[in-house]
Symmetry: C2
Subunit: 349 residues, 2 copies
């Protein structure tokens, strides 16, 4: 006699709904539970379709591009975590448009993804349409979204603490005597940019807004931002990515100045080649390995026992890696005259 | 009445074997043929299991790592080609050991990959055990293997023409007056390294072997190789990767010399940040977009009409991208004294 769901459920100590999910190869059951259900089903003599018995978890991962090495690192670390847990990674890159992003996520679901991780997707934009995330979540698909938080999506959110990232870089530069700091950023509609700009503004007090150059997260964008910010009197530049920072190094050189003698430059991401620029970059390192572990755990355990993913939020503190692109401020700033100190107060002092 | 395979085969103008493959969701049928078969089956009233009807192609892709940006570029371009054809990419990185590589390829097959692409895997080593490739191939799995050729695997091989890569770099440096060229390479057991070294040796004639430094394909490896090769009197260094070349730039600086005034450096891959080093790298560019298209086409169309993949080999010519890391040889070499010209002949002259 074919065992009933309830028999299997009792033996495996789970709900009937969970047994049904496992036997129908639906997402949202973690590997341990799945194994227990399959073992109970086998022990009770239930025949299992081959597809269910041998199925390993597939997880869809979407990253913006791999030209920025930090996104390649994200993909690599997430894959390593998935592999360790017996799961395989479906990777897609360059969502470009919202439509393309929707198409990718739907394709992940269609080919059998049991969870989806999105790094810096449209969930990172304040006003983007995110109905495709909501639809997947409503279907019970575990979602983990990196570096961007939206109140209207049920997902596990894992982000770097952007305020802290700015704070550690600013503290380092202040210790070196810099008072006129500039911020070089990309698209201001995105969560990490807004968070960093707000933090930067909070660190400035009394008076004029601190200098922020909005270009884009590229080498050319960094070059252009550096020229603008040095033109506005900055002796130190915080960049939104290492790629931007590499461009900023060249922008400073293009002005006939030297890094770090005349201008200090701080990168962001501490990507693998931050140590390879000349001079090597001081950079703020996101804790990609820990964050990758957190998102993988979230999607593989996300929907257990319920069709509804649980909404969670985690922020992780970054750390500053000091190398050769930052040094003491030029003499004028190290020993500021009273009038200069006054000017500093209106910037970030 | 349930239509027979032969009816569907006639309507779709394919063999019965192909119809059987499609209806059983087995690999080795290209998307156009698959669609035609499914359409014919539907038109004749054959019910299709949901898994077959909605199934989209999954292709497994294995790259060595993503720290070297050229491998990130490979993954990105292959994914773009797959996406365009309605397929999704399973990505795994860092095979490390042969055992791990075997495990990854088997997992690809288990989760339903309909083809597998390996970039610079163990197929690139002359003597590595490649039985796992042969087993998959024997099961009808289409394989496409990049930058490495083994006579004992049935697969589509697509490689950059390494001899040509060395030739264009050497020609460029000779035009600039360099006669003492050195080669900086990684693991000499791999196909691309052997091909490049052989080409480099062919370009040297009469007498002593040209200077080759075997370190590894890293920044530190490039640094060390540059110190060694400059110590052996080289005024120009061909590197096996851009990462090595970045290290070589710093190695030359560490000796108190300048690139390109005293020593010219040529990279390999022309990865995205070759233009971001200081000075920007002259580099040999592999035709990754074209090669990615070729391997994707090979795996998606590979096994059609037969369980046995067809063995094919293609080599693609690279191109030299000239930037700021190469310049005229130092005066001594531009106007060589007779004794120096004699020495040049024994090197690469």
């Amino acid at each position: 006699m074919k065992p009933r769901l309830i028999d299997i459920a009792r033996r495996a100590d789970v709900s009937e709904a969970t047994v049904s999910r496992v036997l129908n190869a639906r997402p949202g059951v973690n590997e341990a539970t799945r194994s227990a259900v399959l073992e109970a089903a086998r022990a009770l003599g239930r025949e299992l379709p081959a597809a269910v018995a041998v199925r390993e978890a597939l997880v869809g991962v979407l990253v913006p591009d791999v030209e920025n090495p930090v996104f390649a690192q994200w993909a690599e670390r997430i894959e390593a975590e998935l592999f360790q847990r017996g799961a395989a990674m479906l990777l897609a890159v360059r969502p470009r448009s919202l439509e393309r992003e929707r198409e990718i996520l739907e394709r992940f679901a269609r080919v059998g993804a049991q969870g989806i991780i999105v790094v810096s997707g449209h969930h990172a934009q304040e006003t983007a349409d995110v109905s495709h995330y909501r639809e997947l979540s409503a279907l019970g698909m575990p979602l983990a979204l990196v570096n961007g938080v939206r109140a209207d999506i049920d997902a596990a959110f894992v982000s770097t603490d952007d305020a802290r990232a700015v704070a550690v870089a600013v503290a380092h530069l202040r210790e070196l005597g810099h008072v006129r700091l500039g911020l070089a950023m990309g698209d201001e509609r995105t969560w990490p940019v807004r968070e960093k700009v707000h933090a930067f503004e909070r660190l400035a007090h009394r008076g004029a807004a601190p200098p922020v150059a909005y270009t884009d997260f590229t080498y050319a964008g960094g070059y252009q931002a550096a020229v603008e910010l040095v033109g506005r009197g900055c002796t130190a530049i915080l960049c939104g990515s290492d790629v931007m920072a590499a461009g900023a190094l060249e922008g400073v050189r293009g002005l006939g100045l030297e890094v770090p003698r005349d201008v200090s430059v701080v990168g962001y991401d501490d990507s693998q080649w931050a140590a390879m620029t000349s001079p090597p970059l001081t950079s703020v390192r996101q804790r990609v390995p820990q964050m990758a572990r957190a998102v993988v755990r979230a999607v593989l355990e996300g929907g257990e026992g319920s069709r509804r993913p649980r909404r969670t939020e985690a922020v992780m503190a970054p750390e500053l890696i000091v190398r050769g692109s930052t040094a003491a401020a030029p003499a004028l700033d190290v020993f500021p005259a009273p009038t200069r100190a006054g000017a500093a107060d209106t910037m970030v002092g």
